[in-house]
Amino acid sequence: MSNLVHVASVLAELSAEDQKAVSAATGAGLAYGLAAIGPGIGIGIIFGNAIQAMARQPESAGQVQTTMFLGVAFTEALALIGFVVFFLVK
């Protein structure tokens, strides 16, 4: 708790430009963190279901794998856009 108070007092002493930089960095970190949540869950669902499908029907494993990578590519793109935004905002 006292650490937080210390951080707050340091922040208050910063110049306007530095405060802007601090909030930009915080916002960028927050943006990427939030952007990673959805795709993280989505890729988990895709892989989980692909494993289930392959376990139930091993002969269709090749086809499932191709479709799985397609799904991963589409889902992952959202997280990567968040990553690019992170660099644009920072």
Partner: protein, 255 residues
């Protein structure tokens, strides 16, 4: 503190020109050189593998590499997405795959240590190439009606078309090339930054005796993520080729 010595992003991705002034069109730096290598290496591999003195019924040596790459693109990319008629796109997709894969591999090869696709230029051109090809194939197979058919899925009620057509327009002609380019670029850049983070951390920990306890972990992380980047390099090349195949396939068989 550890964070103090971490290089800025500009320092990580901007390479000085070997010759030519900065930002000129003929300036030549490390990334351009790696791109050139990524073009030349597949050419040399296939020239050697295809020369008639080496060509054998049972592949040996470099011919195995060449044939397995063709096999991968044929069996894993073309046949599932386009069927047998897509075999005409084998040269395009194969060179795309090899260019991206070798370009990505430079990200983990010592002394290069920078993926050729970690700057926006290469992914952008590749994505535009894929964009032009799938539109061109659509026009070739369906004429100018392709543009309307591509954004107008059949079986949609007339009232819903107001909503569906703009969404399809954006997703087919804008989001497709954009996401292709961003996916490849961001993956390469993220991998590069990840490796730099662990490398910097290892060096920093090494110079501080008190923190030597965690050195094995940072170094193991560096090794493990290098292996991980090898997988990412392959996967991104595969995914890029696969998506190009899917897009071309969707231009041949509309919906």
């Amino acid at each position: 503190m550890l964070a103090e010595a971490f290089p800025s992003t500009d320092e990580l991705v901007k390479w000085p020109n070997w010759f030519g002034p900065t930002d000129s069109w003929y300036g030549f730096n490390k990334v351009a050189f790696l791109t050139l290598l990524a073009v030349l290496i597949p050419v040399v591999i296939y020239l050697i593998a295809g020369s008639k003195y080496r060509r054998g019924l049972v592949p040996r040596g470099i011919q195995t590499v060449a044939e397995s790459a063709i096999d991968l693109v044929e069996k894993q990319v073309i046949l599932p997405t386009m069927g047998a008629e897509g075999m005409t796109f084998l040269p395009l997709l194969l060179s795309m795959f090899l260019f991206i894969f070798i370009g990505n591999l430079f990200g983990i090869i010592p002394t290069a240590q920078f993926g050729a696709n970690a700057r926006m230029g290469n992914p952008l051109v590749l994505a535009l190439l894929s964009w032009v090809v799938f539109i061109g194939v659509g026009i070739k197979h369906h004429g100018l009606k392709y543009f309307w058919d591509a954004i107008n899925p059949p079986g949609v009620p007339a009232a819903l078309k107001l909503l569906v057509v703009p969404i399809e327009l954006i997703s087919v002609f804008i989001v497709r090339p954009f996401s292709l380019a961003i996916r490849l670029f961001a993956n390469s850049l993220a991998g590069h930054i990840l490796l730099v983070t662990f490398a910097v951390l290892t060096v920093q920990v090494f110079t501080r005796s008190a923190a030597l306890v965690i050195l094995p972990f940072t170094f193991a992380g560096l090794v493990a993520f290098t292996a991980f980047e090898l997988m990412v390099a392959f996967l991104q090349a595969y995914v890029f080729t696969l998506l190009t195949g899917v897009y071309i396939g969707s231009s041949i068989h509309l919906h």
